[in-house]
């Protein structure tokens, strides 16, 4: 029943990742209450199986783009928790140098190309990255995560349409948590199942249980195989649920406690834990130990982030451009120059 590539150590690693995300988010919430985190904070609690299961099914070298509810993906991709927390704290050592904040984490070294806060805006961007991979004959598959709410936006349509048209290697993963901020699925969408959206592009699609790491893992595994084989994009829908409000500011007037309770009973972490016990991969005690170990790590993470230096206001205007131009310097020079100024082969960001 467990795919054989999911060895016991690997299973324990995945379990630990979900726990790590859960604890990270709880500490982030606490730090927000202490005003160490500002702005909007969107927690991933309840949806851990999606990021962990999906990224386990892909390669660590597969480019990853997500929406703003992005902490879980960053951690599942192996980004340094201290740098993640430091970004939430607005520190210079934060994953995005303190410029982006919670919604805009990114770690290029891990092919994590950002949390994106304009709903759906990253969808055509991922399509373009997938085209670049195809053009350069890399066998990468681009992973794009977004919510059910994003599917109502035109940019979703344009990004999927182009991906289908040009058969690029991308897997679109819709995290259907039944709400777009305060909008229920019935209020925001004429279709209950997001996979139906894919039909307009004749794009293969599959739905899975987003509260079950294995279900997500196996579905995304198949999707990546399809895309990597050159068959074009694949659409995955993960039915999941956020246990907390949309953001810390959310009074949650739009859903009742009973519904939340029902979903909390499906918590992906104990669920996967029970599976590991059933398969004799872990004992109850070992799982508890993992929880305690992660919690201890988190205390250090928060302390380290708290101790991290603030960005220097003197540098606030740096980095607006990769190649800042100073007309004052140029004004002296010639009106035309002999090329080439830059290398022909672009290496983005260099």
């Amino acid at each position: 029943m467990l795919p054989e590539e999911l060895s016991p150590p690997e299973c324990r690693r995945l379990y630990r990742q979900m726990v790590l995300i859960r604890h990270f988010e709880e500490h982030a919430a606490e730090a927000y209450a202490q005003a160490k985190v500002g702005g909007f904070l969107h927690l991933y609690i309840g949806e851990e199986a999606v990021a962990v299961g999906a990224l386990a099914a892909a390669r660590p070298t597969d480019p990853l783009l997500t929406h703003y509810r992005d902490h879980g993906y960053a951690l599942a991709r192996g980004c340094d928790p201290v740098s993640c927390m430091a970004e939430l704290f607005g520190r210079a050592s934060g994953l995005s140098g303190g410029h982006g904040g919670s919604m805009h984490l990114a770690d290029r070294s891990r092919q994590f190309w950002g949390g994106h806060a304009i709903v759906g805006s990253h969808i055509p961007i991922g399509t373009g990255m997938a085209y670049a991979a195809k053009y350069q004959q890399r066998d990468d598959v681009v992973l794009e995560f977004f919510g059910d709410g994003a599917t109502g936006n035109g940019i979703f349509h344009e990004g999927l349409n182009m991906a289908a048209l040009w058969k690029v290697p991308v897997v679109f993963i819709c995290e259907n948590n039944l709400y777009g901020m305060g909008a229920t699925l019935a209020e925001e969408s004429p279709v209950k199942d997001m996979v139906i959206r894919a039909e307009g592009y004749t794009m293969p699609a599959r739905q899975c249980d987003g509260m079950d790491l294995l279900s997500v893992y196996q579905t995304v595994k198949a999707a990546c195989a399809h895309a990597r084989a050159g068959h074009g994009p694949f659409f995955v829908e993960c039915i999941t649920y956020r246990f907390r409000g949309h953001s810390m500011a959310d009074p949650e007037l739009y859903r009742d406690k009973e519904e939340v309770r029902r979903w909390r009973a499906l918590d992906p972490i104990p669920r996967f834990g029970q599976l590991l016990i059933a398969h004799r991969i872990c004992t109850e005690q070992e799982l508890t130990a993992i929880g305690e170990e992660v919690e201890a790590e988190m205390l250090e993470v928060v302390a380290a982030a708290d101790a991290a230096p603030l960005p220097d206001p003197a540098t606030v205007s740096d980095l607006i451009y990769a190649n800042p131009i100073d007309p004052a310097r140029l004004a002296a020079g010639p009106e035309a120059v002999a090329g080439p100024i830059r290398p022909a082969v672009a290496v983005a960001g260099e």
Binding site: H99, R108, S121, P124, I125, Q136, D326, I341, V345
Partner: protein, 324 residues
């Protein structure tokens, strides 16, 4: 010295850079079989194939978003938006993706892409006759270029493509068939951020770009002839960053300025220029800074109405006379 049309100059920049850089791609609407609505890309798909010259759906936001991603993936995309009017549909991707990523993600990557688009008019009606350079030029993270001559069109486009930052490159539909001299070195670059003094003068500084540069030069001739007025004419060429040193130096000599553009008077790029120049040159000014701009009207279709509104060299002449 070799000559070229503005259209051919743009095409040769695209073609020669594609030959030089295998990572460069073009994408846009009707740029393949049709050859581009202004025939700029004609023939390129035959030479480079559909993988490098991509026909796209009519999806401006998607086109720019795709180009941003392609750039992040290591390509050098040049996206054509058929006219600047349609760029409104892509503004979010331009402002919140292309212009933001390098800063917002702490400098981890830049977005080396060019958005080529076109402003202009000619009985195209209210939705198709606008130009928004002032909006683009107000966005930190963007570079904005509007060449007026074939040589600058080529040299600046080459610079734009090789630049690691996103560049908005705005051509003008009424310039495509104009001809001009080309440099002997076909690979010569014109640096972004460098204005050009195209006519020396002592009485007034006329700042223009794109099509208005031609109107300004024509007006300068008229003023020389009829008023014995000596106009210095500066081709701004780049709208972000603006070469204020060059403009201010001229104003300090002439003490009078006329700014020429085709966008709406209220809040157009001319207003942005005026504001900075009054900060830089207030004490040097012997007269208010004058502007030639489009009146605040959605440009109507009827030819006689359009002609009554579009900025012309006559208006530049009158504006100069108003500050003398």
């Amino acid at each position: 010295m070799a000559e070229s049309t503005y259209r051919e100059a743009v095409r040769s920049a695209l073609r020669e850079e594609m030959l030089r850089d295998p990572q460069m791609i073009l994408l846009g609407e009707s740029i393949t079989g049709y050859g581009g609505s202004y025939a700029v890309t004609r023939g390129l798909v035959d030479e480079f194939g559909p993988q490098r010259v991509m026909e796209t759906p009519i999806a401006e936001a998607g086109i720019v978003g795709f180009a941003v991603g392609a750039a992040m993936g290591g390509l050098r995309p040049v996206a054509e938006l058929m006219t600047v009017n349609f760029a409104l549909l892509a503004l979010d991707q331009i402002v919140n993706s292309a212009a933001k990523f390098h800063y917002m993600f702490g400098g981890q990557w830049s977005v080396p892409m060019v958005v080529r688009t076109v402003s202009g008019f000619g009985q195209l009606g209210p939705t198709h006759s606008q130009t928004f350079e002032g909006w683009f030029a107000s966005v930190p993270g963007l570079k904005v270029v509007m060449p007026s001559t074939p040589a600058d069109a080529k040299g600046l486009l080459l610079s734009a493509i090789r630049d690691p930052d996103p560049v908005i490159f705005i051509e003008h539909s009424l310039l495509y068939s104009t001809r001009g001299p080309m440099p002997d070195d076909p690979a010569q670059l014109v640096p972004i951020g460098r204005a050009k003094r195209v006519r020396e003068g002592t009485d007034v500084t006329v700042v223009a770009y794109s099509r208005m540069l031609l109107q300004a030069l024509q007006a300068a001739e008229t003023l020389e002839r009829e008023d014995g007025c000596s106009c210095e004419v500066i081709d701004l060429r780049t709208l972000r960053p603006v070469d204020y040193p060059t403009v201010a130096a001229s104003v300090r000599r002439t003490h009078r300025v006329v700014l020429c553009g085709e966008d709406w008077r209220s809040g157009g790029f001319g207003a942005a220029l005026l504001a900075e120049l009054q900060d830089l040159c207030f004490d040097d000014l012997d007269a208010p800074i004058a502007r030639v701009a489009m009146p605040d009207v959605p440009l109507p279709y009827a030819r006689n109405l359009e002609q009554a509104l579009v900025p012309s060299s006559d208006q530049v002449v009158q504006a100069v006379r108003s500050v003398l």
